[in-house]
Subunit: 477 residues, 2 copies
Amino acid sequence: MPKAEQQGITVKKAADTAEWYSQLVIKSELADYSAVRGCLVIRPYGYAIWQAIMDYLNARLKLLNVQNAYFPLLIPEHFFQKEAKHAEGFRLEVAWVESKDDKAKYAIRPTSETVIYDAYARWVRSWRDLPLRLNQWVNILRWEVKDVKPFIRSREFLWQEGHCIYEDEAGCDADALIYLNEYRKLCEELLAVPVLLGMKTEKEKFAGALRTYTMEAFMPDGKALQMGTSHNLGQGFAKAFGIKYVGKDEKEHVPWQNSWGVSTRLIGGMAMLHGDDKGLVLPPKIAPIQLVIIPIIFEESKQLVLKAAQSLAKELAEFRIHADLRDEYSAGWKFNAWELKGVPLRVEIGPKDIAQQQVVLVRRDTGKREQVKRGELKKRVQAALEEIQQEMLMQARKRLQANIAKAAAWQEFLKIIKGNKIALAPFCGREECEGRIKDETGGVSSRAIPFEQPKKIGKCVKCGSDGKFMVWFSNNY
Amino acid sequence: MPKAEQQGITVKKAADTAEWYSQLVIKSELADYSAVRGCLVIRPYGYAIWQAIMDYLNARLKLLNVQNAYFPLLIPEHFFQKEAKHAEGFRLEVAWVESKDDKAKYAIRPTSETVIYDAYARWVRSWRDLPLRLNQWVNILRWEVKDVKPFIRSREFLWQEGHCIYEDEAGCDADALIYLNEYRKLCEELLAVPVLLGMKTEKEKFAGALRTYTMEAFMPDGKALQMGTSHNLGQGFAKAFGIKYVGKDEKEHVPWQNSWGVSTRLIGGMAMLHGDDKGLVLPPKIAPIQLVIIPIIFEESKQLVLKAAQSLAKELAEFRIHADLRDEYSAGWKFNAWELKGVPLRVEIGPKDIAQQQVVLVRRDTGKREQVKRGELKKRVQAALEEIQQEMLMQARKRLQANIAKAAAWQEFLKIIKGNKIALAPFCGREECEGRIKDETGGVSSRAIPFEQPKKIGKCVKCGSDGKFMVWFSNNY
């Protein structure tokens, strides 16, 4: 028997976002816990979303002359010691494997800068070899994860990591920003997730980077979620790994590098942002199923209705469609099940609809119902999917904007944070000062330095010295 | 300056196949060695081939209702002990990671039966959940690899592994054979690699399987290469992991399972089979570049010819095309470079060709040159690519057939093997007898029991007892 009583999410999103989110991901079958502590199974429904993200980004990266490759899972221990800050940054997160034959120690990759740049040192000889733009789609392991949250934070996750190398700083930095902008488009156009772009402060930048550019989303519980980063690595790794090239001037130079990545965390951010008390709400462009047909069955008209549902499925085959013709579940049970899975549109068809040559179309995001004539259905579905996609982004963007408030003074800053919002505040930029903000708030950190800055900054919200730039601060995952 | 002198392969394929193959893979830039012993870098040219294999197989698997998912890299130690034969089979190959927090030991997956079936035990409840057909594309690590050969044998490799579960034996076994047949089509239609299909003997079957079906290719040095397997796992894993379902009869049953996989080894087999002394020879359907345009440049007509080459590239943009307009290399140097990379067709265009409104088309597989009128070029390229694809398979199939010989007696068997061929011989099927064959020949093993068997088998080629079936024997990788 169907376990109807277990089907729905048993807590409200607003009441207990953490528990709601866990139930959301597990019950909608995006993912499942595994027997390995801190590691998840990505189930087919979740993996289909990841596949769509990969397909989208691969097509974009091809246009940007980035090629895919694959580098080893294992990284020799001594590679980590070459770039001191990088090594320190990942010291606690690395899982080690000891070789049986030569007693060498290998890290399971927590990121692949070192193993890739060792290869680049062999491959790059001349300015003709540059820029070299590679990307890989791989699994990553980071051990020190205490508080597992499916997709948001787990020991193992899937990601892409791009690693490019250039003759000079200008080309390197320009591309780093281009990749960040691709991530923004992915979030906004595909996932309907509005994001904030900016630069990380010294304290928050990537271990070994010159500058880290970041893309941040803002979750309904008042916490920011870092959704993607692009690092201008400068020349530090190149020097550490001995990467050099002979320039057009026939002299030897040290190249510039960037690296950039997004992960399966994108799925979690999207699910948490859009989901409601009934379950997932998926934007049509990313939804594995865009449209579910549910026949309204009465015993006397059953065959007629099932047949009509099947012919509807054929008629709408250009969309990602599923007809739920199962006998053993009621229409109401099916409504709940597909709402839990976040399918953007539901088509209901019963004997009355057949008689009137219409169907009922129900939107998942708003719950709005409308009757649509059979002859206009295909066009209406197409338009409705586009409307949903656009409106989901627009609504989310409004909420994001409403959640940002300017703070000129410390008390104001604390009030904004307490109200689960993002504080945009003048900041001196010093690591020590940022440390104090974190300590005194129990965890608030800078999210990013917005690219657009006012002419006059004002005094640092914490220490009162001259502010260097305005910064977004908030709690975060 | 281009390192022209290092460019080509320095040994003949027939003289030293092993050294030739290593140079082939490295110099064509399919792959590179890494700083991690036994692990390779798959370079963009090799990864593009893997991507095409993934795309092909994903499209086929979708039609067969197989969905993609992702299961953890790490497998708890105690999972391996649940299925005794499976544990013993992988005992020496597993790399272990020790957890920092709970002292648990985890294997890096050498294959994922155990971690997947642990999840199936939670997911499968009723006959309604079956068949459950999942697949994952992942990296695999098997430690005990001494003799590394890029793509053919390395510690880490990429593969897909399908894991399906059924109500009964018939459905399970039928699907196992369907997947094997998909692998055959992939090899023949995409890679132009003819294969032999059959069942493994008791000695050679997968650790924990009831029956292993296999697909074998035959390399030019007289060794077989296992290119894919599909296992009917019976009910052993289901019993070990406690997977049960309630049938339509409302009673509890133990389901049947199969698992099946192909790996990046496919790339190696294809490269070794088709390559020649000049380098790779890629079948058009899998070639990352199908067509390279090389302008024949003389100083006085340089601009004219470069322009014509560019407009050719536009005209032929529906193919995977590259125009090599580099200034610093001669046409002859480029011919060699693109032959090394196995591009199926070369288009040469020089001032004389422009005057005569024609180009020269050169086939990589046969070296055949032909002049083609500009107006007919697109049609001719299309036709030539199809011809090459078909003829490469046909030629390879002829060579395979010519390399199989029947052996009724032991001396005849030895002579066939010594001649670097496959012996098709009557065999008693006993593990002990197969062990003796291996010992006395220094490594010959059974490759497969062909699906089609004669009515009368004759006496076992080794022990003289009644033969159970005809078996293909050979050396192998």
